[in-house]
């Protein structure tokens, strides 16, 4: 599904150049649930931005489904984000003044087709168990519910890849577990999920944990699968 080869990225801060990604290489197979785990300041967010086609690497190549997006223009990357990638953020990033339903339909503004938008949004909300809350504003929802709306939003264009950035970071343990459960369901449904976290507990829900530190991959281990739903066949799915 995705293949990163020797990705580098530096930022200029004043006159200082800081190398954030120092040659990152890894591979995630289709249908895999992978956690990228690393401490704060290790460059995880930068990596996520490159993986999510929000930012370009300085060098290296980054392939999704065999196509290299490392040096493509904004239009190509935007179209690929719309079609192939669903984002789930720590802060949910819902529009305050829009209902759950409108938040979920938002990606349709930028997708190739908005046909049956409301029906698709309702199906996505159903998948995260929030049909009964579709007309609520984010402020009327709990944190866990807001994150489920965000997941429904990520699903509306039916993308093969879900990128979750500390998706449980703002939630209490119970809500966090719910979200991880939903992510697991998505993997079971054939999607690829990349979860970025600093929390080993959270990372252990994945099939495989990639340790990331100081801009490099430092270890590639099979997850402990301590999570409730670690399905046996998940890691082996092609």
């Amino acid at each position: 599904m995705i293949e990163a080869l020797n990705l580098t990225k530096s930022y200029r801060r004043g006159t200082m150049m800081t190398d954030v990604l120092k040659g990152v290489s890894f591979r995630v197979r289709k249908g895999e649930f992978v956690a990228i785990m690393g401490p704060s300041g290790s460059g995880k967010s930068t990596l996520l931005n490159v993986l999510g086609l929000l930012d370009q690497p300085d060098s290296g190549s980054y392939l999704i489904d065999g196509i290299d997006y490392a040096r493509t223009d904004d239009e190509t990357r935007s179209a690929a984000r719309s079609r192939m990638i669903g984002f789930v953020f720590q802060q949910f990033h819902l529009l305050d003044r829009a209902s759950a339903l409108r938040n979920v339909t938002l990606p349709l503004l930028y997708s190739e087709t908005s046909r049956d938008g409301t029906a698709r949004a309702e199906r996505a909300l159903e998948a995260v168990g929030l049909t009964h809350r579709k007309n609520y504003l984010p402020s009327e929802l709990s944190g866990g519910e807001q994150q489920r709306v965000a997941i429904a939003r990520a699903l509306i264009n039916d993308p093969p890849l879900i990128l979750a950035d500390e998706a449980t970071g703002n939630l209490d343990a119970a809500s966090g577990a719910e979200i991880l459960q939903i992510l697991r369901t998505l993997v079971d449904g054939g999607r690829t999920v990349v979860l970025i976290t600093h929390d080993k507990e959270v990372a252990n829900h994945a099939d495989r944990v990639l340790s990331f530190s100081d801009g490099r991959m430092t270890g590639n281990e099979i997850g402990l699968r301590g999570g409730r739903d670690a399905g046996e066949g998940a890691a082996a799915r092609p």
């Binding site: 179209a79 079609r83 953020f89 503004l109 950035d165 703002n170």
Partner: protein, 410 residues
């Protein structure tokens, strides 16, 4: 729906879900457009009023009369002074710049008219074909004298309203043949009623107008004329033109330095100045005010948008993450600015026209509402919306989604 339509719809939805901000954003533009539309409506009204004054008082006409200053003391009689002749009029036409049509006027009182068993005594005017235009005399029936009538010295006539009513109480005078001093004249038309002039001048409805050639060679048999009337389209030029005419006629009449004129050049009164001067200054001022208000309104939109973009940077980042191109973001904010300005335009045009009508009702100004103030009002607000939306839109498009989405608690 196309992508652009979807984005436009989304912009409308978010503007409507944030009515207070939208209202504040459009206020400035609304004020500017209101003043602008009111100024234009009042300006147009005043212009029309001035045009009307020009026509009623013939303020764009210089009249040359035969005889020197002496005539002032004998205005009611046809003096029969042999000073002005038709070639003087043709010479004015040839030599004087910045003038419109020129017509001679040969006048004679006490002309007998007969139609069937009805009769009237009136004053005849022999004129050139341009006369009706110079004096703004529209016809109620028929048509005015033509070049052909003039060239062939036709016995044709236009009747004043009062004469027509006397000879033809049932109306319908055109093509009837009347007798003028016993000669048959075909009626070509009837003037619209003018009504008695307030200043007690003679009754302008009591007259008969025929071609100058006919009056000079057939009816009156004399070459000299009472008046030459000259149209001057640019009112500002009237004093200079009058002076040029005076100079020309002095030369033509071989008047030596120190001798008095044997004619009198009468300029129109300065009624226009009074009607136009005050509003002109006021309009310039109000137009300036409206431009300033529009620019201020644009700056308000721009600043509120820049603030809102800073506040909404996460929303912008999110939109980018879910597939928006930089150009989609730019379009979103440009449309937002345009919609707000247009909303301001609707309110502004309505308020402006309302104010113009209200002031008109109150008798303070003369307003005229046409498509012009509405069109200019909307064009102005669209211009403001686009001009002041460009920078916020560009700024929004350049927001780095990677930075704004991070938002990670340290």
């Amino acid at each position: 729906m196309s992508r652009s339509q979807r984005i436009a719809g989304d912009v409308l939805t978010s503007l409507l879900s944030n009515k207070q901000r939208t209202f504040l954003m459009m206020l400035g533009v609304a004020a500017g457009v209101a003043v602008l539309t009111a100024v234009i409506a009042i300006g147009q009204g005043t212009r029309e009023r001035v045009m009307e004054l020009v026509q009623v008082h013939n303020l764009d006409m210089i009249m040359v009369r035969a005889g020197g200053e002496v005539q002032v003391f004998a205005p009611q009689a046809d003096r029969g002074l042999a000073a002005l002749v038709e070639p003087d009029a043709r010479a004015i036409e040839e030599a004087i710049p910045d003038i419109g049509k020129v017509s001679v006027v040969q006048a004679q009182r006490g002309i007998n008219l007969v139609y069937g068993d009805r009769s009237a005594i009136t004053r005849v005017f022999g004129v050139d074909p341009g006369w009706a235009e110079i004096r703004y005399r529209p016809l109620a029936q028929g048509e005015f004298l033509t070049e052909a009538d003039w060239a062939s010295m036709s016995r044709v006539a236009i009747l004043g309203d009062k004469v027509a009513k006397t000879l033809f109480p049932d109306g319908d005078a055109v093509d009837k043949v009347i007798r003028v001093e016993n000669d048959p004249y075909t009626v070509k038309g009837v003037f619209e009623e003018i009504g008695q002039a307030a200043n007690g001048e003679e009754d302008q409805d009591d007259r008969l107008v025929i071609p100058f050639t006919t009056s000079a060679r057939r009816l009156l048999n004399r070459p000299y004329v009472e008046q030459i009337v000259v149209n001057v389209p640019d009112l500002e030029r009237i004093p200079q033109v009058a002076e040029l005419i005076r100079g020309l006629l002095r030369v033509r009449h071989a008047i030596n330095a120190g001798e008095g004129d044997d004619f009198f050049v009468r300029e129109p009164d300065d009624v226009v100045d009074a009607a136009m001067q005050t509003p002109a200054t006021l309009f310039a001022l109000m137009a300036a005010v409206s431009v300033v208000a529009l620019i201020a309104g644009g700056l308000v939109i721009m600043n509120l948008m820049l603030i809102s973009i800073a506040q909404r940077s996460r929303e912008i980042g999110l939109r980018r993450a879910i597939g928006a191109r930089a150009s989609d973001i730019s379009r979103q904010f440009l449309l937002e600015s345009l919609f707000v300005a247009l909303a301001g335009g609707v309110v502004g045009v309505a308020v402006g026209l309302g104010a113009a009508m209200g002031l008109d009702e109150a008798g303070l100004v003369v307003s005229r509402i046409t498509w012009l103030p509405i069109a200019i009002g909307f064009l102005a607000c669209m211009g403001v919306g686009i001009a002041f939306g460009v920078q916020p839109a560009r700024k929004a498009a350049h927001i780095d989604p990677a930075t704004t989405l991070r938002g990670r608690a340290a």
